[in-house]
Symmetry: D2
Subunit: 404 residues, 4 copies
C-alpha cells in the first residue's frame, strides 16, 4: 500500500494546477462579462476558445480518455491518474473542464464512441468531438417515469426496413440547447418483450434530423447554465435514422449505459471535491479577512469546527474515490460497483453540506453571483439525482452488504 | 393552557385557505406566463392586481398590522391571530403575500411608519402603502461589513442646516429594483462617537432623490426574483433630504430596527412553515403517484421515514412560533427575545432540510421551475442569513442560556 | 390559544419544584451510599421511604392518575396538568418518580387496574399499589420475537376449567427483580386463530405462583438499575391462576395494552425533558466554572452553539408534548395517536443527543457515576426501544401522513 | 499510489483473522462465565492466559511495536502494516488485544520505554511487559483540571537530593485496579516556571511505593471494565522514588507524552473500526433472521439505507487511518499531526453512530449484555474524550486549515 502519486500524475497535477491558477481563474470574470453581453445565446463564449487553444498548446487535452491501444484517442491515463486532474477542474466548473475538453457529457459520449463505435461512427462523431469541433448530448432521462429503473423507459425505437424510427420525450439532455451539439445519443426500447436488461438500445441521432424538437430549457435552481448549453427537453416524433446509427448493437443499450457510468461518476465526484476545495480556500480568505464582534472569523471556535469537519470529510472521501479509481483500473468497473455506488452517494452529499456552510460564512454574498458558491451548490445538489437518486444506490448498496 | 384557536382566527384561517386554493394557486401558472412574456421588467405583473382586488373585496387586506388604536391602520389582529394566516401565504410565496398586501419588506416598513412616523410621514408614505399604490424598500445591509454588528455600518448621515446628507452603499434592498418602490428607508450613522447603539438613525428617502443610484440586481441561487422587484445594490452619493425625513429621532435607528425584527421574524417563520406544508402536500401527491421498483414511493419505508420526520419537525416548530407570537402579545417583543431568536434559527434550517428531501423525491423535476420547490429552497436558505446569520443568534441565545 | 398554565398546575409545579430541590436532589448521594452498602439487594433503599413519607405529607402523591369520578383514586389531574410535574421528576429519575408514587411501570399498571379492573382486582392490587405497599411489573416483551408486532407474541394462555394456564418467556420486565413486585401483569395469546388484534389477553399473576421463575437480571449498557428492581427475564411454566384474574376480558389484551401506552408515553417524554433540563443546568455550572485555553467554556462559541441548539430543541418538543397531552384530554387517546407517535419518536432522540453533548462538556467525568449524565443517557437511549422501536412508529406516522 | 497490502501484511492479516474466529470469539462466553464466577477481582481471568499461550505459539505477539533496530523488541511492523491487525483485534476488544499482548495502555507504555528508557529501565519494566508478566498504567488525567491543556496539570514532582517526591491526584488510570499493574507512569510538573511545554516530566513509579493509594474504580456507562483492570483514581502523597526513575529527562514530559499519542490513536481508531465491522456483521445476521411486519429486516429499505451509510463511513475512514499510518511511517508523527487529529475526531464519532444504529436493529437485546454492542458503544464514546476531547482537536485542526 502506497499513498504517493506516480511521477506522471505528479507532473500533470502540477501542470494543471498552474494552468488553473494562471489561466482559468483569471478568465472567470471574462466569462461573466461575455455572458452579460450575450444573454440570448447558448453557445460557448469566446473565452472558452482562448483557453482551449492554450490548453492544447500545453498538451492538456482529452486527459480523461483512459482507453485505447496505447491511448490512441486520449492521453492514456488510468482512472487513478486522471482523478486528481479532474479534481482540479472542479475548482472552476464552468471553464476548466471545457478548456481541457474534459467536460460532461462529451467525455462520456466520447468514451462510448471509443468503446462501442464502428470505425464509421468514430470518424463521423468521435474525431470532431476529440477535436472540440462539435458537442454532443446524452438523451436518457424521461419526464414521465423513474428513469433510474431502465425498464420504465418510454421512448420507442422501431425498425422499419433499413431505418430506425424513434418516438419519445427526453429531458435533462445537458448541453443540448447549444446549437453546436450536433450529436444526440438516444436511449430507447427496441424490444419491450426482451429480458429486462435487453430491451434497450442506443442510437446516434444527428441534431438536425427531422422530427427532433428542442422544446425548452430547464433550470437548476435559478440557473439555466447557458454558458455551456443548458439542459433541454427534447421530443422525438418519428425521427428516422439509418440502422447503422445503432451504437453497440440492438439490445445492448443497458450495457452501454452502464459502461458510461463508472468513469462518469469518478469524474463527477472528483470535480465535486475540487468544488469543495475551492470553497474551503475561499472560506479561509473570508475568515481571515472578515471581522465580527471584535475578532476575525478565523479565530472563532465555531468557524474552526466547521472548517475542520469539512477538511476531514474531503480527505476521507478523496481517498475513497481514489481507491475506487484504482479498483476500476485493476479489477474492472463491474468489480468496483460497490465502491462506485458508495462515492456516488457520499461525495455529493458531503460537498453540498460543505458548500452550504461556506455560503453561511459569506453571508448573503454567498448566495449571489458574486461568489461561485451558490452555483456550485446547485451543481452538487444536482449530482444527488444525476444517474439515479441517492436512494436507488443506497438500496442496492445496503442489499449487497446485507446479502454478502 | 389551551391549544385551540379563537373564533376570529379560525374564521379567517378558513377564509384565507379558501382564497389560497381557489384564487392564488390557480394564478401561479398565469404568473409564470406573464413573467415569460415580460422578461425585462421588475414591476408586479397584472395577475397581482387581479388577486389584490379579489382579496380586498373579501376583507383579506393588511391583516399583518397588529397595531394601533383599535386597528386603525390594519386588521387589528394579534401576532398569535395573524400567525396561521401568514403560514397559509407561505404556500405561494410569490403571490399570496402580495395579494393580501402582507409582503415583506412593505409590512415591516408599514409597521415602522405606524409606530414611529409623524402624521406627515404617515400621510405621505403609510397611506399609499396600506393602499398598495406604492412599494418600499429597507436599506440596511452593506457589502463591506458584517451588518449584523450595527456598529460596523459605514453609511453616513450628516446634518447640513435643515437637511440630512446621506452617503454610503447598501445591498440586498429587497424590492428596490421595482420602479414602484417609491420609498427607501435607509439606516446610517449620524453620530459615530455616540454610545454603541445610539450612533444610528433611520431616514426616509424618496427613490427619485438625486444621488440615489440603483446599481444592479443581485441573485439568490440564480433567481433574480424579478416578479416582485428583486434585490438591489444601491449607492447614495450626497443624497440630500429634509431633516423632517428622520424616522423616530436622531440616534434612534438601532431601536427602530429592533422593533421591526420581532414581527418580521414571526412572519418569515410562519411563511416558511407554509412552504414546508406545501412541500409535504406535493410530496404526498408524488409519493402516491410515482412507482419505482414495483411499488409506489408512498409504500417505501425510506419515504415514510422522511415524511414522518418532516411532519414532527413542522408540528413542533409551529408550536414554538405560536408561543413566541403569544409572548410578544402578552409580555412584549423584548421579553420574547430568546424565543424570537430560537425560531429565527430553527425554522429556516428545518424547512430547508425538508425542502431538500422533497426535492429528492421529485427527482430532477424538483430542481427545476416545474415545481416550486427549488425556489422555495432558495428562499428558506436566504432566511438563514436575513436579519443576521444563524451564528449571531446562536451565540446570543447560548450566552443567555449559560448566564441566566 | 393560550400558553399560560392554569392556577392549579402553576401551584403544583412550584410545590414539586421545591420538593425536588429541597428533598430529592440532596437525597441522591444518600442513595448512592446506601446502594454501595447493599450491593446484593434489589429492593428500594431506606431513603425512598423517607422521601415518600415527606411527599405524602405534602399531598404530592399519585399525581399521575388523571382518572376516575372526581379523582377517586388519584389526584384527578388532566394529562396537561400532570405533564409539567412529570417533567420535574425527570430531574432525578431514580428518586423523584418513586418518591411521589409516580414511577413506571406501576403508574401504567395502576391505570389499567383503575380502568379495567374488577372491584375485587382493584381491592387486591390497586389499593396496595396506590399506597405503595407493593410494586408490580408488566410482562409484555419476549426475547424470541419482534414484540412490537403483537401477532408474534409467543406466550400462551389456555383455559383449563376455571383456571388459566400460562406458558412462555418474557424479558425486560422492569422492576421484577424487586421481591416487593407482588403482581405481574402478563400478556399472552388466548386465541391464536382470532382476528389479529383479538388474539391476546392480559392476566394478573401473583409473583409467588408456582411455575413463575425469575431467571436473571438484564443490564442497560452496564447498569442493572438495582435501585428500583432492575429488568428481569421471567419464565412461565404452566402457571395456573383462576380465570377471574383476567384483566379486561378474553381477547381484550391488545386494546388494554394500547390504553396503557398513551399516558405512558407522555410521562416518559416529560421525564426525558426533565433529564435534558437537569443536564442543561449542569452544563451551565460546568461551563461557567471550567477554564480551557484561557477562557471559561461558557465564553467559547462552540459551547454556546451546543447549548443554544439544545435549548431550542427542548422548548419546541415540550410544546409538542403538552399539545399531545391536551389532545388526549380533549379528543381522546385514539384521536391523538399521531401526536403520541410523534413525541415517542422525537423526544428520546433529542434528549439522547443533548445528553451526549453535555457529557462531552464534562469530559470523562460525564461518563462516570460522578455525574448523572451517563445513566440518564442509558435511560433515554432505552426509550427509543421501549414500547416499540422508533422505526415502527416512524413507519406508521409516515403512512398516515402519506395517506391522509 | 497503490491500495493493495504487501505480502507480509496480507499473511499476518489472514493469520490474525483465523485466530480471531477460531480462538478469540469462541472464548467470549468463557470470559463471561469466569467474570460471573469471580465478581470481586480485577485481575485477568484464566481464559486470557490460554489465549496468550496460543497466540505466542503462532508468533502473534507484540505485533504493535514498530520500533527498534530490526524490531529488537517487537515484530518490526510499520504502522501501516500493523493497522489491519489492530482492526481485527477490535472485533473482540476485551480479549483479542490482551491475547496478542497488544492492549492499551501497555502498548503505549512499552513504546515509551523502548524509545526513552535507559537500559536499566528497560530491563526492569520493558522486558516483563513484553513478556506479559506484569501490566502497567499511565497516570496523566486529573480530576480538577482540563488535562488536555498540559499547563494546567496539578501534580508536582520535586527533587529532594537523589530522590523525586510526587504529590497529586490522578484518575482514569486504565488498568490500575489490576493488582498486576506493577508500574505506574506518572506525569507531573517538575518546573512550573519553565516554558509552557518544558514544565512537565514523566516518572516511573512502582505500584507498591509508599504513598500510592488506589482510591476507587470509575465506571464508563455503568461498566467497571473489571475484566482487564478498570479505571482507577489514585492519589500520590509524597511518593518518593529515585531520580533515576525519570523517563526521558526532566522537562521532557510533554514531548514524551506527545510521542505516545500518534501510534496510540492509530491503534484506537483501527480497533474502533474493527468494532464497527463486528457490529455490521451482527447487523447482517440479525437483519436476515428477524421478521417484522411480514418481511425480514434485511429487505426493508430503512435498514438497507442504515447499513449502506455505515459501510461507506467505514470504508472512507479506514482509508484515512491507513493514510495516516503511512504518513507516520514516511514523514514522521509530527508531519502527520493534522491527519492524526482528523482520525482521532472522525473515527470514534462515526463508530459511535454506527453502533447506535445497530443497537436499534437489535431492539432491547442490543442494550444488554447479550450482545457486545452496548459495551462497544461505551468504549467508542469514551474515545471521544480519551487523549483530549474532540473539541480540542477540532479547534487545532481548524486553526491549521485557516492559517496555512
Amino acid at each position: 500500500m502506497d499513498f504517493a502519486p506516480d511521477a506522471r500524475t505528479a507532473g500533470l497535477t502540477a501542470q494543471v494546477r498552474a494552468f488553473l491558477h494562471e489561466r482559468v481563474l483569471p478568465a472567470e470574470p471574462v466569462l461573466d462579462a461575455q455572458l452579460a453581453a450575450t444573454p440570448d445565446t447558448w453557445s460557448f463564449r469566446p473565452v472558452v476558445s482562448d483557453l482551449r487553444a492554450a490548453a492544447r498548446e500545453q498538451g492538456l487535452w482529452n486527459l480523461f480518455l483512459p482507453d485505447g491501444p496505447a491511448g490512441r484517442h486520449g492521453a492514456g491515463l488510468t482512472n487513478l491518474q486522471y482523478a486528481p486532474l479532474a479534481e482540479l477542474t472542479g475548482w472552476s466548473p464552468r471553464l476548466a473542464p471545457v478548456a481541457l475538453n474534459c467536460a460532461a457529457p462529451d467525455t462520456g459520449n466520447m468514451e462510448l464512441l471509443a468503446h462501442f463505435g464502428t470505425p464509421e461512427q468514430q470518424e463521423r462523431w468521435l474525431e470532431p468531438l476529440l477535436d472540440a469541433r462539435i458537442r454532443s448530448a446524452f438523451c436518457m432521462t424521461e419526464p414521465d417515469v423513474a428513469s433510474s429503473d431502465a425498464t420504465q423507459i418510454g421512448t420507442r425505437i422501431r425498425r422499419d426496413g433499413d431505418d430506425l424510427v424513434i418516438s419519445g420525450r427526453k429531458w435533462w439532455s445537458t448541453g443540448a440547447m447549444n446549437p453546436d451539439a450536433a450529436l444526440l445519443i438516444v436511449m430507447g426500447k427496441t424490444d419491450p418483450d426482451a429480458p429486462r436488461h435487453r430491451q434497450q438500445s442506443m442510437v446516434l441521432v444527428p441534431r438536425d434530423t427531422p422530427g427532433v424538437t428542442v422544446v425548452r430549457p430547464l433550470t437548476v435552481f435559478g440557473y439555466d447554465d447557458r454558458d455551456h448549453g443548458g439542459h433541454a427537453e427534447i421530443t422525438f416524433d418519428d425521427v428516422r435514422v439509418p440502422a447503422a446509427h445503432l451504437l453497440g448493437g440492438a439490445g445492448e443499450g443497458f450495457a452501454v449505459a452502464q459502461a458510461r457510468l463508472g468513469p462518469g461518476r469518478i469524474h463527477h465526484c472528483m470535480r465535486a471535491l475540487g468544488m469543495a476545495e475551492r470553497a474551503l480556500a475561499l472560506a479561509g480568505e473570508r475568515a481571515r479577512g472578515r471581522v465580527a464582534f471584535g475578532r476575525p472569523l478565523a479565530e472563532q471556535g465555531v468557524v474552526r469546527e466547521w472548517v475542520a469537519t469539512a477538511r476531514i470529510e474531503v480527505e476521507a472521501l478523496r481517498l475513497l474515490v481514489l481507491k475506487t479509481a484504482w479498483l476500476m483500473d485493476t479489477v474492472g468497473n463491474r468489480a468496483a460497483m460497490t465502491e462506485i455506488q458508495a462515492i456516488k452517494i457520499a461525495v455529493p452529499r458531503a460537498v453540498q453540506s460543505i458548500l452550504d456552510r461556506v455560503m453561511q460564512l459569506f453571508g448573503a454574498a454567498g448566495l449571489s453571483g458574486d461568489q461561485p458558491l451558490a452555483e456550485m451548490f446547485a451543481a452538487a445538489r444536482a449530482l444527488r439525482l444525476a444517474d439515479g437518486p441517492d436512494e436507488v444506490h443506497l438500496r442496492a448498496l445496503g442489499r449487497a452488504e446485507l446479502h454478502p
